[in-house]
């Protein structure tokens, strides 16, 4: 898609385009990300994204850590969907080392990952509401439900965000006894909360007027830019790694893949809202059929030495395809540990999507990508 930036008009009153720095410190950049907007009045003529503020060497440090110490790094790459990222890394190590986790552990992982997806989408709706102008109302509704989910996670793992709960070969320890009933209770209250968010935002004419038809994306462009997750599905492509390349035990559950029509900002809202219902559906199915039994594979030695080899394990995180390319030379430290953040590719398409709109639209387009800066800069 070729972007023709408007040639500067030569009116008698010589006007210049000013560079507005939507800087690293800005309420709308969801973290430390800077956009240098060249603005002609309210119209954005050019946009130069600047990233790297959160670069902490998340790919270099694990080369000095034991395979179990690396899990902490994955909690901190995508800090809104830790169970999904841990799940991806742990599956990568298991595929390399040939470990088969027991059934119950697989179920626990799927349940927690899907609830974490709901929490992440709730965070999206809260932040998006603030971007579009709702004075914190959507934030409060979304965070009230996210708190209930975080309390549930605290009962299971002991932490509200950085869980470090999955292990290569299973999970650290078993679920508490009242987990099934607590989980059902949390799911019901969260579903009520999602209805409330739906009522507040989805049919609101002001939201419709602002988001409908804003920067539509065609499927071909989405594939070319490497978009994934809700951004890709909003364009109409039903590509979901849980369905296209089933990993873990996702192939045992019935769920639908919501897709949008024109790939504009409103479709992304619709797709994410629907995904929350689908995730709740998966969790309910998993809770019924969860077996009892051990939660850690047998015969794991104290120091996990992974045989030489490489694997690119990818998982459907709430933001898109989260991949870990793990290369091991047979020692107990990974040789190369590359993390493919979904927001990295999604963000690279920002310039093409944003140029030509108003300043207030660029803020919403950035909000609709639902970026997590740690995943972009690693």
């Amino acid at each position: 898609m070729v972007i023709e930036t408007r040639p500067p008009h030569e009116s008698d009153l010589e006007t210049i385009d000013i560079n507005v720095n939507v800087g690293p410190q800005h309420p709308a950049t969801h973290g430390v990300f800077r956009m240098v907007l060249t603005v002609d009045g309210e119209l954005v003529v050019d946009l130069d994204p600047v990233i790297g503020y959160m670069h902490r060497g998340n790919e270099k440090l694990p080369e000095n850590c034991d395979y179990r110490q690396v899990i902490g790094y994955h909690d901190r790459t995508d800090y809104l969907a830790q169970f999904n990222t841990e799940h991806c890394y742990v599956e990568a190590v298991e595929k390399l080392a040939g470990i088969k986790p027991p059934e119950r552990a697989e179920y626990i992982r799927v349940i927690l990952a899907e609830i974490n997806r709901i929490a992440s989408h709730l965070m999206f709706f809260g932040a998006f509401g603030t971007d579009i102008g709702l004075f914190g109302t959507s934030f409060m509704y979304a965070f009230r439900d996210r708190e209930t989910i975080q309390d549930l996670f605290e009962e299971v793992t002991g932490e509200r965000m950085m869980y470090n709960y999955f292990r290569p070969g299973g999970v650290a320890w078993d679920l508490p006894d009242n987990f099934r009933q607590r989980c059902m209770q949390v799911l019901d209250s969260v579903e009520r909360g999602v209805e409330q968010l739906d009522g507040l935002m989805m049919e609101n004419e002001v939201v419709l007027a602002r988001c409908r038809g804003l920067s539509p994306v065609t499927p071909e462009d989405a594939i070319n830019w490497g978009l994934s997750g809700p951004m890709l599905r909003a364009t109409g492509l039903a590509h979901d790694i849980r369905r296209a390349e089933p990993y873990s035990i996702y192939d045992r559950f019935q769920f639908d893949i919501p897709t949008g029509k024109r790939g504009d900002v409103y479709d992304k809202l619709v797709v994410r809202l629907e995904e929350m219902h689908q995730s709740a559906r998966i969790v309910r199915q998993a809770l019924e059929t969860m077996p009892e039994g051990p939660i850690m594979a047998e015969g794991l030695k104290r120091v996990l030495r992974v045989p030489a080899g490489e694997v690119y394990m990818r998982v459907e995180s709430p933001r898109g395809e989260y991949g870990v390319y793990l290369v091991s030379q047979g020692s107990d430290k990974p040789w190369r540990h590359k993390v493919r953040g979904a927001s990295f590719s999604n963000l690279s398409a920002l310039r093409a999507m944003a140029v030509g709109n108003f300043v207030s639209d660029v803020i919403i387009i950035l909000g609709s990508i639902d970026i997590v800066l740690c995943e972009v800069d690693r």
Binding site: I51, G52, H55, G57, E59, K60, L61, E63, N64, K95, L96, I223, N224, W225, G226, L237, A238, H239, R243, A244, E245, P246, G309, E310, V311, Y312, M313, R314, E321, G323, Y325, V327, W335, R336, K338, R340, F344, S345, S348, A349, A352, D377, R378
Partner: protein, 379 residues
């Protein structure tokens, strides 16, 4: 577009999987090294025909690999490898394509004209690994700032051990150890970790200096690299020579950081003092600036004399971690705590002897503690 759920390519012995066979059929007579990872098939390609392979991968009907998932660089010490994980939406299959290039000549043709997402991935790999992607539209670094001089993800870049981050905390222990060693007359153990880090930093400095000279002389990239290589070799020989000549006994590390801070503070105080005087005299800004400059020059001369003079006062060991209270009442406190603990165990013993329930037992312990506290006040 119908998406049939592609079953993961079953791990087989190295005979080519379905996608690899497609590759062979669409690129007859091309040297393809076929491999198999737990999920995708792997095809290693020579650098010369890499561009052609990527063209067919994207445009060929059978392959139609139109989605570049992940582009990662890997440093195998002798050569650098870039791995492209591709996926096809039409057929639902995916494959990994690898290409290697020697460390000295790290050039790989860019694919950002085929897949838009390769733009950012290549910029990132370029700044972290030093692999130059020829034909990339905008080769600015993405994550790190301009002109870093060294490539972070390369194995040659030293990953300092975690102790490096705890300098001041560990310095206290080092200090204690060296004092204790001096006291007992045993030679202080040579701290190889600090030496290793120093060596690496010097090496990085040497590389940077060599590269700047080469660039200053306007050499072409190849002999610039050659210049850097022999600078490194020269540095190694010198180091080995110095090593052999005099076994290095580590002088007690004067805590320069604290000294530097002190120096800076003195300078700042001096500047403000002179500036206030100048302003009091109502001097014009230029003279004011000269006066401050002279004061600073005078101050730095004094510094040289005092530095030439006998060694600066040994830097005082930074405060030992969290031993706030004076030792005397700490012992009293420990003693008090031990008494309390003994009391608790005694109260617990007789409560259990009487066979009380856990709650009653806890009350018993609480009363014992209260009684003990009253005795303390009274006593």
């Amino acid at each position: 577009m119908v998406h049939e759920a592609a079953t993961a390519a079953p791990p087989q012995p190295i005979e080519p999987g379905p996608v690899a066979r497609l590759f062979q059929s669409s690129l007859p007579g091309l040297a393809l090294e076929i491999g198999q990872s737990p999920i995708d098939e792997v095809v290693t390609v020579r650098r010369e025909d890499f561009a052609r392979v990527m063209e067919t991968a994207k445009n060929d009907e059978q392959l139609a690999l139109d989605y570049l998932r992940c582009l990662s660089g890997v440093d195998w010490l002798t050569d650098l490898e870039t791995v492209y994980h591709l996926h096809s939406f039409k057929h639902g299959h995916s494959i990994a394509i690898k290409v290697r290039c020697p460390v000295a000549d790290a050039h790989v043709p860019s694919v950002s004209h085929l897949w838009e997402t390769a733009n950012w991935h290549e910029r990132e790999t370029q700044e972290l690994f030093g692999i130059v992607f020829d034909g990339h539209p905008d080769p600015r670094p993405l994550l790190t700032e301009e002109g870093l001089g060294y490539y972070i993800m390369r194995k040659s870049h030293p990953l300092a051990d975690i102790e490096e981050w705890q300098e001041d905390y560990l310095k206290t222990i080092e200090e204690a150890k060296s004092q204790m060693a001096v006291a007992t007359g045993v030679a202080a153990p040579v701290d190889e970790k600090a030496l290793k880090i120093q060596m690496a930093q010097q090496k990085a400095a040497v590389i940077k200096k060599a590269r700047d000279e080469a660039r200053a002389k306007g050499l072409s990239p190849e002999d610039e690299k050659a210049a850097v290589q022999d600078a490194i070799k020269k540095f190694e020989e010198e180091h080995a020579a110095r090593q052999a000549a005099a076994p290095v006994t580590p002088a007690k590390p004067v805590d320069e950081r604290a000294a530097k801070i002190q120096l800076a503070q003195q300078k700042a105080a001096l500047i403000t003092k002179t500036r206030n005087e100048a302003r009091a005299r109502g001097v014009s800004p230029e003279e004011e600036r000269q006066i401050v400059a002279e004061a600073l020059k005078k101050f730095s001369e004094e510094q040289e004399q005092s530095a030439a003079a006998p060694q600066a006062a040994p830097a005082q060991a930074p405060a030992a971690p969290s031993v706030p209270t004076a030792p005397m009442d700490r012992a009293a406190k420990i003693q008090l705590a031990q008494q309390k603990a003994a009391l608790i165990t005694k109260a617990r013993e007789d409560a259990r002897a009487k066979g009380l329930s856990p709650e009653a037992e806890r009350q018993a312990v609480a009363e014992a503690l209260k009684k003990f506290a009253e005795e303390q006040q009274a006593g």
